[in-house]
Symmetry: C2
Subunit: 154 residues, 2 copies
């Protein structure tokens, strides 16, 4: 007995929120380029020539996932991937003209989508919304490496 009320479970809400966003992105922004892919393009507009790992860090993706995303973008010719001559382990990433064009196009569509997505909230509520989510996510992320603050000593 005693089933839990999932509407008070942040994990469940986070999943539902992301699904809702995924859906809206698909219909209002792009069917080819996903939201994580856009985040990568965006990071490279801000800082061209980043290596794979750092891009992953910027957008919040682990080494495996970022490798897949980049391989797809590269396959579609949206970015170039070249060995760093100074450090043979790294790949340096840079948008192609086509990649930059895609980023520009999606930027305006994304802004439109965000308006629709956030329509149920007032301006003040949006600020609070961002702040609360950011605080929870940041805190949980900080709970990672540093000496394993949780019971299990690994």
């Amino acid at each position: 007995m005693a089933a839990a009320d999932l509407t008070t479970h942040p994990g469940h809400l986070a999943r539902r929120l992301q699904q809702a966003h995924y859906l809206l992105w698909n219909t209002m922004v792009s069917e080819e380029t996903t939201s994580p892919q856009f985040a990568v393009l965006n990071a490279l507009v801000a800082e061209p020539g980043l290596d794979q790992r750092t891009v992953g860090e910027r957008v919040g993706l682990d080494r495996s996932t970022i490798a897949e995303v980049i391989s797809r973008l590269s396959r579609r010719g949206l970015l170039d991937k070249v060995r760093d001559p100074e450090d043979g382990r790294r790949f340096l990433l840079r948008l192609t003209e086509e990649g930059a064009r895609t980023h520009r196009r999606l930027t305006v569509r994304t802004a439109r989508m965000n308006q629709v997505f956030l329509a149920p909230l007032t301006a003040e509520e949006r600020t609070v919304f961002f702040d609360l989510i950011r605080r929870v996510a940041d805190a949980a992320e900080g709970l990672r490496d540093p000496g394993d603050p949780l019971p299990a000593p690994r």
Copy 2:
């Protein structure tokens, strides 16, 4: 030029929030049973004998995804799946003793994890947090079928 600030993009925040939760779940709740799997167990505790589609509806998963999740739970012997004698299309789902036990065990761990996850927020902030996310997610979900409120006529 003009890279966007992703910290004001709800989709990006939602993804980061979910990742943070995934991580915490893994370390504090279970490595075998995932959060969506727990949601399914929970739905069946509340309403035993539901069919697959309805469970999916309750926890917010489409028919394909719910089929995979259920197949995994069934493989591990946490639930039984039998043809509805009254309607040969449906499968009726019911937790096994082991499934019910798993649900009980995870329920207490989940509560502990939620405390940690929400620790950065005060009690009032948590209420707001739930409310805002729910409103955004519900609104976006409502934006689905009904006559396609968006440009594209399908």
